[in-house]
């Protein structure tokens, strides 16, 4: 799949953690190029550094070597917004204040930012909870708010770190549907981390498979399942099954490898 413009370019990126028991190479020689408007998924065994990679892209961590460049098309828009894996909406703010948080940080007047936030709250189906506090929401609803907060900020790039990983299956499918729908409308460059091959196939244009210890790019697979996608339909297609199989074969070795090392490695992995 060819993209007119490049949105993210990463060259020979590496990340080394210094711990008391020595150095750990979390990422090594990562190079990739993500096009504008692409939905890019990253799968890999746990501990392969995929979250670290995303945090470096988000500017929350620094790299140890190599270069990354995020190419803004419009300087008025924020470069990236992240949807975190864990519960990350502020418990002390109402849904609308959470969703409009990024806009508030950019000094957009209250009336305007509430209008934008309302639009996204409606999109995620939480209009009834506009002025509710997160303690009144379920886990799935909280994660919806988190997704809406990132979209409302209207960034160049969306970074999503296993946003639906902690949800039950019904909620996960629902949110994947909603994400697909919102994404089809906005076509934002998206980097999406998941441990689920199925999720990557349902959402992504391309899927990068990572290996662990150190985290490296194993392969990048193009997922040309037709869009707009209906999750229930694509799951039964032959193409889906072939892609699933080929990714699984690559991942299987990685997972067994990292499993063999995990008893020692997990303790060494710094908490990030």
């Amino acid at each position: 799949m060819a993209y007119e413009k490049e949105s993210i370019s990463v060259t020979n990126l590496s990340k080394i953690f210094n711990t008391t028991s020595g150095q750990i190479t979390a990422l090594q020689d990562i190079s990739l190029s993500i096009g504008e408007g692409e939905f890019f998924c990253i799968v890999g065994p746990s501990g392969c550094g995929k979250t670290t990679l995303l945090r470096i892209l988000a500017g929350l961590d620094s790299s140890s070597g190599g270069t990354i460049s995020l190419k803004p098309t419009n300087i008025d828009r924020p470069i990236n917004s992240m949807v975190f894996q864990e519960q990350s909406i502020f418990p002390w703010m109402t849904v609308i204040d959470n969703v409009s948080y990024g806009l508030r940080m950019r000094n957009i007047p209250k009336k305007e930012r509430y209008e934008i936030a309302n639009h996204y709250i409606e999109m995620i189906g939480l209009s009834k909870f506009t002025h509710a506090y997160p303690s009144q929401l379920s886990g799935g609803m909280k994660q919806r708010v988190s997704v809406a907060r990132a979209f409302a900020n209207d960034p160049e790039i969306l970074l999503m770190d296993e946003p639906f990983g902690a949800l039950d299956e019904q909620n996960r499918i629902l949110l994947q549907h909603e994400l697909l729908r919102i994404w089809e409308e906005t076509r934002k460059t998206t980097v999406f981390i998941t441990h689920s091959i199925d999720e990557a196939l349902c959402l992504g244009d391309r899927i990068m498979v990572m290996s662990a210890n150190p985290g490296m790019v194993k392969t990048i697979i193009t997922n040309d399942l037709p869009r707009p996608r209906k999750i229930s339909e694509i799951r039964t297609s032959l193409q889906y099954n072939q892609l699933f199989q080929s990714i699984w074969l690559i991942l299987r070795d990685e997972v067994t490898n990292s499993k063999n090392n995990s008893s020692t490695e997990e303790k060494k992995q710094p908490q990030i």
């Binding site: 864990e86 940080m105 303690s135």
Partner: protein
Amino acid sequence: MIKQEYSSLFIRILSILSPLSILILWEVMARFHIIDTRLLSSPSLILHAFIPLLLSGELLYNTAVSVQRVIWGFLAGSAPGIVLGIGMGLSPLIRSAFEPMIAATYPIPKLALMPLILLVFGLGETSKIFTIAIGVFYLVVINTMAGVLSIDKIYLDVAQNFGANRKNFYLTVALPGALPMIFAGLKLGMGMALILIVAAELSAAKAGVGWMIWRAYDMFAIEQMFIALITLSLLGYLFSLLLDMLENWVLPWKKQV
């Protein structure tokens, strides 16, 4: 945990009934001379002494004097406590500068400082307010710092990712995130203030609820002593009620769980 299904009415009745039965027991034991009323008085004797004390305005005056001292001391202790506590929570530099000092001086009973405070500030109002302030300060500063430190790191990441500047970082993350712990500190501080007011009014005071207790001791007026004690307990209840109201108003996100 096993959920016990008592009706709320029963629970409400029980919480009124149990103190009431103690009062009745007290009265009965006094009437039958099982206890010495010269030392332990009785509910009816206390009530008898209460009315003139209330009508003469003496009780209200002394209460007002103490309340004033408590409020000033509380404010003088908690305001710097919150400011320094947030600073210590956010900045490792401020923390390492102050924490050892606070940890080392915290265990000193504040009452042990009274003579020094009297020498420095004299016998006037300042010494009493300062004694209360210093007791409140420690509890508030320690809780505030712990509150800021306990804010989940993820919220700091969110603020950074969404481009919060320093001011917004304080206002939208550090302060609201630490407020529940700040209130815990304020409530402990209020309890401490009421403990210290009695001690502070022991020396060189001419009015106040604490002074009433010591005067009652000197005059052997047991009933007045009990009245002052009840007043203190009421004050404590009222202040905690006020703090709860303030907390519900400032922390609307906490009550709706």
